[in-house]
Amino acid sequence: MLRIENLQKNYGAFRLDCSMEVLSGRVTGLVGQNGAGKSTTFKAVLGLVRPDGGKIEILGKDSGQFGAGDRQELGVVLSNAGFSGYLTVRDIIPVLGSLYARFDKAFFLEQVKRFGLPDNQKIKEFSTGMKAKLKVLTAISHRARLLILDEPTAGLDVVARDELLELLRVFMEQDDNRGILVSSHISGDLETLCDDIYMIHQGKIILHEDTDVLLDNYAVLKMDEREYETIEKRYILCSRKESFGYSCLTNQKRFYRENYPKLAVLKGSIDEVIMMMIKGERL
């Protein structure tokens, strides 16, 4: 659905050099700190910024050939942009109806009602959560094939987040030929939604793994200095000096559970993995 090969973009000292892929029928997550390059990657895919190098292929077309008409197939949420805040929900319905050939007005109105969005109030007067809901509804209401969602759940409470994630799951279940690229700083969202996850740091992809593998096989090992000296380091990806000794990230949890039964082995959450990959020292 989406293939990015050595995408390059330079902003002063910042350098993006990113390769990744979103496959049909899959939800792919992109995680990283603020300023890691997530939004720049999204913007380059959407043609909002001009890449300095590399290749982007969207729905089988080179990004240079991917025109306005092709964007009928995309549903987009941008973290810091949306419809003009001076418009109302009622205003944007005919706009979406004219822009998208397959805009599903009945579905859109139903969801607007479900999420309690006021239809005659200016968007700029909406709460952060209401704006986020409207953005996602806008993205999924025209039967797109590929959703590109930059921080779609930002500012939402737990219940609203769960409802939106459920909408995205239903969106995927309706058609096997759909795909989603999503970024979020809420790792819980990604753990329950994504099939695979890319981790980006300082403009570079530092990890790509299936979510199941990440949650099942990755772990953080806690040990003192003596244990660290003797432990098998073949399956340790990176380590970090702590006050008690060392924290080590492994992708072979079972190996250490079986061979070092006394070792503290903590389940690898996405947050833990990000922390270790970014702050730890590669071995």
Partner: protein, 217 residues
């Protein structure tokens, strides 16, 4: 394109109060002055400036980035702004012309044909002005755009004044020059002026497309 036009018309709702004030001022002026050109140009230019306002509304909170992630090309956007401007300018001009032609006929007993002709002469001026404004506002957003606009207007004014002074020193009499030129009927002159203003609009549209295609969001 249709979606963008609908969006801009919806945005116009935010300028409802301004529109009412403009209408009242124009109506008031029509009672106190017989200078119709001022009212027509006033309404046409003010209406054109609504296009600049919609550009600012689009830019609000990085809205352009989202807009160009929809099935909207940058070319469509630039063309739509010119179309919208033409609609606004035409609407303002029409309202001003109706007001002043009616005033001229019913109050001052003028010949309606003469009044309509005078109103038509002002249409190219209004179109020309709107052609000038859009690329500047697309290139320089917000406050910067307004400053550049003022500087450019001042520049044009300075060039015209300097040109007239130089011509005066060189002994060139434009009135005499005009009289010596081949005779052109009022209708032909008007058609030529309208033609020139539409060419200006096309050039402006082309420049605007270029500006938009080079922008990053």
């Amino acid at each position: 394109m249709k979606g963008l036009l609908i969006k801009d018309l919806k945005l116009m709702k935010n300028m409802r109060n301004t529109l009412i004030i403009i209408a009242i001022v124009a109506l008031g002026m029509s009672f106190y002055t017989s200078d119709m050109s001022f009212i027509v140009v006033y309404l046409a230019v003010i209406s054109t400036s609504f296009t600049s306002s919609t550009i600012s509304y689009d830019e609000f909170e990085n809205g352009n980035a989202f807009l160009f992630s929809l099935p909207v090309s940058r070319r469509d956007y630039a063309v739509e702004k010119h179309l919208f401007s033409l609609l606004m300018c035409g609407g303002g001009w029409l309202a001003g012309s109706v007001l002043t032609v009616c005033g001229g006929v019913f109050r001052d007993g003028l010949d309606p044909a003469e009044s309509v002709m005078a109103a038509l002469v002002l249409l190219p001026v209004a179109i020309g002005l709107s052609s000038f404004m859009i690329p500047v506002h697309l290139k320089y957003s917000g406050e910067k755009g307004r400053i550049v606009m003022i500087i450019l207007m001042g520049g044009v004014f300075l060039i015209v004044i300097s040109g007239a002074k130089i011509a005066e020193k060189l002994g060139i009499d434009f009135r005499e020059l005009g009289e010596r030129m081949p005779v052109m009927s009022d209708g032909m002159g008007l058609a030529a002026a309208l033609g020139i203003s539409l060419v200006l609009l096309l050039v402006s549209c082309k420049i605007s497309i270029r500006i938009m295609e080079h922008k990053e969001f």
